[in-house]
Amino acid sequence: MQKQISILLLFFFCAFNSFAQDTLQEIKVRGNSKSLKKSYSVTANTTVLTSKELLKAACCNLAESFETNPSIDVNFSDALTGTKQIKMLGLTSPYLMITEENIPSVRGASQAYGLSFTPGTWVESIQITKGAGSVVNGFESISGQINTELIKPISDIPFFLNAYGSTDSRFELNAHFNKKISDKWSSSLFAHGNTRVSKNDMNDDGFLDNPLAKQINVLNRWQYTNAEKGWVSFINFRYMNDKKQTGELNFDPNRDKGTTNYWGSEINTERFDVSTKLGYVFPDMPYQSIGFQNAFNSHDQNSYFGLNLYNIKQKSYYSNLIFNSIINNTKHKFSTGLNFTYDKYGEFVNANDYSRIDNSVGAFFEYTYDNTDNFSVVFGGRIDNHNRLGTFATPRLHVRYNPWEKGVLRFSAGRGKRSANVFAENQQLLASSKTFDFLNTNGKIYGLNPEIAWNYGLSFIQGFLLFGKSADVGFDFYRTDFQNQAVVDVMQSPQQVLFYNLDGKSYANSLQVEFNYELKKHFNLRTAYKFYDIQTDYLSGTYQRPLQAKHRFFGNLGYETHILDKGKQWKFDYTFNWLGKQQLPNTSTNPVEDRLPEFSPSFSVMNIQVTRTFSSTFEIYIGGENIGNYKQDNVILGNENPFGPTFDASIVYGPVFGQMYYAGLRFKIK
């Protein structure tokens, strides 16, 4: 009997060996022909960008990887930080939950530049969810979630090399190494370096168009997979050091820092991250699993903008325990668990000390009903206790219905709450002569109250055949209603930034209409029109959110030749963006020469890229950004007198540098 049982057990493990492996592999995004995937059967309005999509633009980092996608608007990098901010539903990244492998990554001190701290080549896929997200990762997301999956050591290739250079004198090098250590352990080492070596001033205003930069970024990750027992684990170590210098051409930090000789700025950031992930899938119940994530990071930014000093240090710890299972059968699934977050900030703005400790603990429960056919609903809720936000509930709802074939109707609603890190999120405003004034003092975050918003969304996609080729049309409408907002007011006076609690209304309406069509085999067209109505009641009246176009048009054409033997192929990509006029910050009381109109002009920007694959191991690409050479006029107000009252380098609504061309190569050992 004893012997039989042991043999029986053996048999079971053998049988589940293959079974558990299947389950684990489902996590992987399969390499496939489609670069942008929209599902008709997923409940939330989620688009998946595969690594193939990321190659359509030679994206250097995460912020730049959304250029070929209409759901996300990429702003123009400003002269100061050189960083591209992203927006979804017209709201900037503080209102998005940005996670890396489901661990919140761009938050707190890293809010402004965090996306530029993940090199594009590390990314395996990106999931973009519009509207209220899942409750599993936290309560902060308001307008959407962006999750990035990095390349997994188990499926990585032994060696990858990417080199890039551009006419704005930016150079990048990415090298990936991978080793399968045993049948259970594998490890990857990713090394990234980028630099901008020479000073550019294409608009002759005496200021750099983009900062001198130097970044070193190293990630070492370990993966343990034991499919027989159902275990999978990741351990990541990461170090990043980023240095930027900008300002007047003649500015020399060693000589001029802290003086009024020349205006200049340096932003130096050092980060260290450790994260672990442990997942267990019950071998005899593949629908039941436990996940445990832990992340520690230390972020240290030292910076000055002219005579303004800004230093922020953040040490944070994040932990998440998730249990997934079913009720009766897989039509009824649930996830439940606990989160814990601890953030210790040391923040100094000039002589003011805003250091503080934030912590929160919360529990969540998310129920999913799926009739396995044409209807599913996700209902989630969480209760959190936060030392500044108090105890509060966060409900979220997603519904999907397929009324007929290839048609999908989705609805979502949810609440988000967050503390605004007003300096970290708006630090570009420090590059001006503006004074910073808080009109409220009773709240717990810089004297302000927490931000609370509700988001509702409705979307519909219909796929069909047009002249025998696949096409789809879609529209979505989202509304974000702020109950409270930490208003950042640049409409009052050109010499002031005011921060205060919303008094009145603030909302963001976003409408997107999309049409995608396969013109012929391997020749795809994507088009989108976007309408944003984002209004806030400021002290001086109701205005559209500054630096946000009300109308936008997006188009993308992608063409690939057939893959010949040995993998030879050409790929062509063209992206067109048209932006309507944008509300500009108030400059009406400045002297005439430092005054901007109330609205920016409308303009368009075009990018192209050509990739030549010589074999499955080697390819080169060349491309151009802003080939129409559009340049914003008057980027830096008061540039004649940078320490005078009208100086402002924060009003960037369009490209500063003009046209830019680049080339690069990718080499793989498989």
Binding site: Q4, I7, T330, D373
Partner: protein
């Protein structure tokens, strides 16, 4: 070597039967063949299987026609599940669908009957 393997296999089967008689597994892995053609069939077959109380998960593979189930043996048995699937028009190992149920299927779902 070969002999050993046969003994192990034999013992396994003996063990399996013995075990099945002794305790009813709450997470029993069950698989059998279900006739069908397409994605629509997959949905229908899985839906029918899940409609049986005690079936926890169902996954029908279109390429080989095998239905993989995890069931609670205390609540249901293979025959009940196969009957439920036959009722929506799909033949299984033990239970064949009635002609009228088969004919209710969408034209693209009308698999070849043996």
């Amino acid at each position: 070597m070969m002999k050993n393997i046969i003994v192990v296999l034999l013992l396994t089967f003996v063990g399996f039967t013995a075990q099945a008689q002794e305790v009813k597994n709450k997470n029993a892995k069950v698989e059998f063949h279900v006739s069908g053609n397409c994605e629509m069939c997959k949905k229908r077959i899985e839906k029918a299987a899940l409609s049986v109380s005690g079936v926890k998960s169902a996954d029908w593979h279109m390429d080989c026609g095998t239905l993989y189930l995890i069931t609670n043996e205390q609540k249901t048995d293979v025959l009940t599940i196969q009957k439920a699937i036959a009722k929506v028009g799909h033949d299984t190992d033990e239970v064949k669908a009635l002609k009228e149920d088969y004919e209710k299927l969408h034209t693209c779902c009308r698999y070849e009957r043996k």
